[in-house]
């Protein structure tokens, strides 16, 4: 038995929200490495042009695609940690609605808000 929400003995709301905002920012920056407007993956096309008939271009394309997926998962994980930090602040301090809106408005790459 145990509740994740009840596990904070103390959490400074201001510091933790800065922490969460930072993590969400890192998540966004990591994400932007492989999602639009990033052109990540397009370099494999140049390889295909320079090495026609060789599997090198296919390997570059496949591995870049796998890396993009892994990068997206990494970004999601960082985002989740940031969001969970907000939830813990929220749960510990029973934040009022105005504060909640402020928390929600912390920029996230997923919502674009």
């Amino acid at each position: 038995m145990g509740s994740g929400l009840a596990d904070s003995l103390n959490i400074n709301a201001d510091d933790a929200l800065v922490l969460a905002q930072g993590m969400r920012g890192y998540a966004a920056d990591v994400a932007y490495g492989t999602v639009a407007p990033s052109t990540f993956g397009s370099a494999a096309n140049a390889v295909r042009f320079g090495f026609a008939d060789f599997r090198l271009a296919d390997v570059c394309a496949t591995k870049s695609s796998e890396t993009a997926s892994a990068n997206s998962a990494l970004s999601d994980a960082l985002q989740a940690i940031g969001d969970n930090t907000v939830k813990c602040v929220d749960a510990f301090h029973h934040t009022d609605h105005a504060t909640k809106l402020q928390i929600d408005n912390v920029t996230t790459w997923k919502t674009g808000s």
Binding site: G2, L19, V30, A43, K63, A70, N71, D90, H97
Partner: protein, 593 residues
């Protein structure tokens, strides 16, 4: 074996194309490294303002995530190296191959795609030579083609093909761990749901949870886990709300029980420690006997006051300990027990409700209400009765019976001084009534057949839960060894869906011949201060159906015995068999007085 490059490929290959690929990987590498470094730094530095398991878990998760993320950067770094090195090697191989081909073709030799070199026709360069000389010259040119040009050209084309393949393999190997990084996000135990506005308003004090059982259920079933957690975080006793599904009641009540039990254990340990430090305390007359702290040595007064406070804080330790033990044990059927109620704040004692299965999915639900002296510290004995009733009901044909030990009220602690008072029953009756409403509201599928079965003083609680303006949602009421059913007639009981005058078909009672409890109804009026609890429901004027019980233990002189009051659930007893049939809905198989 690696295929050699062809002549056309040797010219067409552009090693510089790898530069863009390398640059792309390097850029992502640098971006990820920078962000992971910052994430790790930030969370590692959060220990000063985020204390507790949640913070520890966030830091640990960050470390794990960063470690996993560095597998991506390691792969990218290796790929950059493979691409850069490969570009150099391929460039050299390409230059070697094309130079060899250029040299041969400059001398008018023909180079095929596979590097095979054909000498020029000797007649073209020796137009006036005789046949013998032309033959010799051609032989010399052919030998040159094979030995001077073809061999290095083919070797160069092979090297070029090998260089490209080696680079390809090196890049593949660089990324071989990237596939395993994908599940990172799935291992993070968190959901991104947000609270509903409705719940936020409740948390902010702008509105309240519905009091009505059905309305509460209707709201509850729309809430996300985050909403539910937030509400529980605000009200630790939320799990006692009637209308909440049994699985959620069990979940939240266990969380609260765990917290309260831990707190009580900690307080008791502190009290024990203080007691051990002061062997001079005469606690045999404590705690009230030691209340005169002024008689204590001055240097131990503060400790004594702390000891008293810690003993008070841990006063429910036995109740909580037994409740946890019972809730954590499986019923004989193998079904996990469910903690439907846990309240150590509202009453004088802990109030607990424990089921031997999930009532929301049961075919038959029996609510067992024990009487005088019942409290959670004695719950193990009551669970034996619960298990007996479930087994007997199943034997009688109930497909999936569940029985609930309902200790949702402060039962009178003692027979003489407390059980003679009607107050305990009047205080508990509304809660029992609401609990039955909740069972009906949260039940899934076809309605279950619900029985409320009281024993001893519990029968008074049961009777009053269906009287004084309340209607009890039960198909059947069973009153065992009653000192008075709270009312004087079965017709005074109000049961959901049962027309007035038809109650007798739904009300069953019994008493053992040697059980003195039903004689209680004769005491009020004779003894001052003894409340009347209503008619003995086994009397004919009450108007219910009276089923048989075994006589019970008989004492030599007075015949009546206290033991007989507790023998209704003995395995194989007439009363237990009859209870099984009543619960299962087989009144025709019950034996009556």
């Amino acid at each position: 074996m690696t295929a050699p490059a062809t002549k056309n490929q040797a010219y067409a290959i552009q090693p510089g194309a790898l530069s863009a690929q390398v640059a792309e990987w390097r850029s992502l590498h640098d971006r990820i490294v920078a962000n992971l470094d910052l994430a790790q730094r930030d969370y590692a530095g959060s220990t000063s303002y985020w204390v507790g398991n949640a913070g520890d878990r966030a830091r640990e998760t960050t470390t794990t995530t960063v470690t996993e993320g560095r597998k991506i950067t390691t792969a990218l770094n290796s790929a950059v190296t493979a691409g850069t090195d490969g570009q150099t090697t391929i460039t050299t191989a390409k230059n070697t191959a094309t130079a060899a081909i250029d040299l041969a073709e400059k001398e008018k030799f023909t180079v095929a795609q596979d590097g095979t070199v054909t000498a020029p026709d000797a007649r073209l360069s020796l137009p006036d030579a005789n046949a013998e000389d032309i033959t010799a010259a051609q032989a010399a040119l052919d030998a040159t083609a094979k030995n001077v040009y073809e061999r290095p050209i083919k070797a160069a084309l092979l090297s070029l093909g090998q260089a490209i393949e080696d680079t390809t393999v090196a890049i593949e190997r660089a990324f071989e761990n990237v596939g395993a990084i994908k599940p990172v996000a799935q291992t993070i135990e968190v959901s991104l749901g947000e609270r509903s506005q409705q719940v936020q308003d409740i948390l902010d004090g702008k509105s309240k949870l519905p009091e009505d059982t059905q309305e509460f259920h209707d709201l509850w079933t729309t809430l996300s886990d985050e909403d539910k957690d937030a509400l529980w975080n605000q009200d630790r006793y939320l799990g006692n709300r009637d209308g909440m599904p049994a699985t959620d009641r069990d979940h939240y009540n266990r969380l609260t029980l765990d917290e309260q039990l831990t707190a009580a254990q900690t307080a008791r340990a502190e009290a024990d420690r203080l007691k051990a430090e002061h062997p001079e305390w005469n606690l045999s007359v404590a705690p009230t006997g030691m209340g005169d702290a002024q008689t204590l040595p001055e240097d131990s007064v503060a400790d004594y006051q702390t000891w008293l406070a810690k003993m008070e804080e841990s006063r429910h330790l036995d109740d909580l300990t037994t409740t946890a033990k019972v809730a954590d044990s499986a019923s004989p059927s193998g079904e996990p027990r469910m903690l439907l109620g846990m309240d150590d704040k509202s009453g004088q004692r802990v109030q607990a409700i424990v089921a031997d299965g999930n009532p929301d999915t049961a075919s038959h639900v029996t609510t067992y209400v024990p009487g005088t002296g019942s409290q959670p510290s004695k719950l193990e004995g009551d669970m034996v009765r619960v298990d007996q009733m479930t087994a007997q009901a199943e034997y009688a044909g109930a497909s999936k019976p569940v029985t609930v030990a309902w200790m949702g009220y402060d039962a009178p602690p003692a027979v003489v001084s407390d059980a003679t008072q009607r107050d305990y029953a009047q205080a508990g009756a509304p809660a029992l009534n609401a609990f039955q409403d909740g069972l009906r509201v949260t039940h899934e599928g076809e309605p279950s057949r619900n029985t409320v079965l009281g024993h001893s003083y519990g029968t008074t609680v049961v009777g009053l839960s269906a009287a004084e303006g309340r209607t009890l949602d039960a198909d059947t009421v069973v009153l065992v060894a009653s000192p008075g059913a709270g009312v004087d007639s079965a017709r005074d009981l109000s049961l959901t869906g049962v027309p007035d005058g038809q109650q007798y078909q739904h009300v069953f009672s019994t008493r053992a011949e040697n059980d003195p409890t039903p004689l209680y109804e004769n005491l009020p009026g004779w003894i001052p201060g003894v409340d009347r609890h209503g008619e003995d429901p086994t009397e004919i004027e009450f108007g219910g159906q009276v089923f048989t019980s075994d006589p019970g233990t008989r004492t030599p002189v007075v015949e009546y015995s206290g033991d007989s009051h507790s023998e209704y659930w003995e395995p194989g007893s007439t009363s237990l068999v009859n209870m099984g049939h009543i619960i299962a809905g087989n009144p025709g198989k019950v034996t009556y007085e």
